[in-house]
């Protein structure tokens, strides 16, 4: 028998803060452009010529010699380090700099490569080589919650004093493997997806690289105040309709963050019937009948799979910095009982809760707050 003996104080190290960020996604080749387009209600979803609407990155940056996908990822990552005012080459050569890469498929095109086809196994080594990274590194996968799970890992590495700073990268790219996969599951919307909307018909896929530079200690930036993870232990594809698994992750994150108001929620918002309804149940279970305002970005960027958690944390961090919530592209009206943003609005005082859920019933919740 293994009776629980109660919890002790969780962590010893410093609060991790997001101090630098960069992204390339369907809304733009840099974070500032993406945020401006998001605020304007623009969508980056376009017909891809095969009868599908997807969110492609502006210029396929992996067309070129060598290892262009890894080079594209490294380029975005260096931009995030530079955004924090650091010299990327020096920071990446520092053995106290950690790296956590989040992805679901890595280099999915590699499956079609002759020789030793693979997508995930060698991916971390390739990204590290492109970066010139010297410190501890790991590649994490938690299905569509991978990008936020990577932030949880960064939290552990900083608080556990393994690393002084951690580069978190979320990256996944469009590929027929994924498009046909979600299509055969019947999960794809015929047009641009419509998160939390009564007429939602499924998801739109997208691709992105998002990078966050995480440092320990006090100072300006956006603090990662709490993390929560859970599993539904139910279905492999469909989420637990009660929202119980996600609610558990949210409660864990809020408990870890301590007291304080939640000003808004950056939802997973895939626009599938099952996901959005499950999320609404989870938000009501935690916050009651009037959850905080909810926004989602997948109607603008598409569902970027392993990157989405990192990209949504980035958007949440900018929203905290700007004091502004973006509209939810694709949403017109919904009866899920959620206050979904239709236009930019001032962020109510408090933190932003960012949540993701993935196949296998994996859930991650992050509590982010501005740090002055």
């Amino acid at each position: 028998m293994l009776p629980a003996i109660g919890r002790e104080d969780r962590l010893v190290g410093e609060d991790p803060r997001i101090t630098g960020m960069a992204a390339c996604c369907a809304l733009g080749g840099d974070a500032r452009t993406a945020w401006r387009n998001l605020l304007a209600g623009t969508t980056g979803l376009r017909p891809d010529g095969t009868g599908t609407v997807t969110g492609a990155m502006p210029h396929p940056p992996w067309e070129g010699e060598g290892d262009p996908w890894a080079a594209c990822i490294a380029g975005v990552a260096r931009e995030a380090i530079g955004d924090a005012g650091e010299d990327p080459a020096r920071a990446l050569a520092d053995p106290a700099t950690g790296l956590v890469v989040a992805t679901t498929k890595g280099d999915i095109e590699g499956l079609r490569r002759p020789g030793r086809p693979d997508s995930l196994g060698p991916f971390l080594r390739r990204v590290r080589r492109a970066l010139g990274h010297q410190g501890p590194a790991e590649l994490v996968s938690a299905a569509c919650a991978s990008g936020s799970a990577a932030l949880v890992r960064a939290d552990r590495l900083v608080r556990g004093r393994v690393c002084r700073r951690v580069l978190v990268i979320g990256a996944d790219r469009l590929d027929p493997f994924l498009v046909e996969g979600f299509r055969c599951l019947g999960a794809m919307a015929p047009g641009p997806c419509r998160p939390y909307d009564d007429e939602r018909e499924g998801l739109s896929l997208g691709e992105a690289v998002a990078a966050l530079w995480i440092e320990g200690g006090s100072g300006p930036g956006v603090r990662l105040a709490g993390t929560g993870q859970s599993q539904d232990a139910a279905g492999m594809v469909r989420p637990d309709p009660s929202g119980g698994g996600l609610a558990l992750a949210i409660r864990r994150a809020l408990a870890e963050a301590g007291g304080g108001a939640t000003g808004a929620i950056c939802g997973h918002g895939t626009a599938t019937e099952a996901n959005d309804a499950m999320e609404a149940e989870a938000f009501r279970a935690v916050f009651g009948t009037s959850p905080p305002p909810v926004f989602g970005i997948k109607g603008a960027t598409g569902h970027t799979l392993g990157a989405c958690g990192t990209l949504e944390a980035l958007v949440s961090a900018i929203a905290l910095r700007e004091g502004l919530l973006p509209p939810t592209a694709g949403h017109r009206a919904g009866s899920l009982g959620l206050d979904v943003t239709l236009s930019p609005r001032a962020l109510p005082e408090g933190r932003i809760l960012s949540v993701n859920s993935g196949f296998g019933g994996l859930n991650v919740a992050l509590v982010l707050e501005a740090s002055r």
């Binding site: 028998m1 293994l2 009776p3 629980a4 003996i5 919890r7 104080d9 969780r10 962590l11 010893v12 053995p95 679901t104 499956l111 079609r112 086809p117 693979d118 997508s119 995930l120 196994g121 991916f123 971390l124 080594r125 590290r128 990274h133 010297q134 410190g135 501890p136 590194a137 790991e138 590649l139 994490v140 996968s141 938690a142 299905a143 949880v152 890992r153 552990r156 590495l157 556990g160 393994v162 493997f177 046909e180 996969g181 055969c184 599951l185 019947g186 993870q229 859970s230 599993q231 232990a233 139910a234 279905g235 492999m236 594809v237 558990l248 993935g358 196949f359 296998g360 019933g361 994996l362």
Partner: protein, 239 residues
């Protein structure tokens, strides 16, 4: 930080199963049949359609000592793998030009095997896979230790699965149960300490952790994870 103990380990390969209940054999006839997880989880839905990593991981998970109901909400699963779901990926990729199979696509994730184990055991703690060429099992052990030590969960089933496409190497799974709560028997105190950046070199797989359990004295091993050296140590067996 909380103390974390290694409570139990199990191993499954194509021929042997080793765990607290001893070692037994199957596939004596030399076939390469994967274990049938219904032996441990009779209520499983359509195990024959399950991917190989899930079948091996479930067969190993079924050998672990039963977890009390109260602990299941706070028990996570963190698995490392170098092979991930490559075999399933290739199978699904082969169907793309014909008729893509939704049941196959849903399993094209390295987290599938861990999620199946969580579903079978009703575990609701963190779920994660780490995928890398160098020492993925030890990387999972370190991540699991950090989760338990940080208080994010009270117990973690961690380990490594190596279930490659048919490339001549044999599949195997090692699982370890880490607990940050009192348990009987008490298990051995586990510590993971970061020693600094390390040059690329040969990694280690988690099977050598099993060898340590035959020794009653303290045990430690320096292992190179991706980009960093770690010391993994176990206290002596308590009398």
């Amino acid at each position: 930080m909380r103390e974390v103990r290694l409570a139990s380990t199990v191993m499954v390969d194509l021929r042997d199963r080793s765990g607290p209940g001893g070692t037994c054999r199957w596939n004596e006839d030399g076939t390469r049949a994967a274990p049938d997880p219904r032996e441990f989880f009779p209520d499983l839905d359509r195990p024959a359609r399950m991917d190989l990593p899930s079948r091996f991981v479930l067969a190993a998970g079924g050998l672990l000592p039963p977890l009390p109901e109260a602990l299941r909400d706070a028990t996570g699963v963190v698995l490392g793998t170098a092979t991930g779901c490559l075999a399933v990926d290739r199978d699904f990729a082969a169907t793309l030009a014909l008729r893509p199979q939704p049941s196959l696509y849903a399993r094209t994730l390295p987290t599938t095997a861990g999620a199946e184990l969580s579903r079978a055991l009703g575990l609701r703690g963190p779920g994660l896979a780490v995928v890398q060429e160098t020492s993925p099992g030890y990387q999972a052990l370190v991540a699991a230790w950090q989760e338990a030590a940080s208080g994010a969960c009270d117990a973690v089933i961690c380990g490594e699965y190596h279930v490659p496409p048919a490339d001549g190497t044999a599949p195997w799974v090692v699982l370890a149960l880490l607990v940050a709560v009192s348990c009987d028997p008490p298990g051995r105190l586990l510590e993971c300490r970061y020693l600094g950046a390390g040059d690329p070199g040969p990694g280690a797989d988690l099977r050598d952790l099993l060898g340590s359990l035959g020794e009653r004295g303290p045990w430690q091993r320096e292992v190179l994870l991706e980009g960093g050296r770690w010391r993994v140590s176990l206290a002596a067996v308590s009398e």
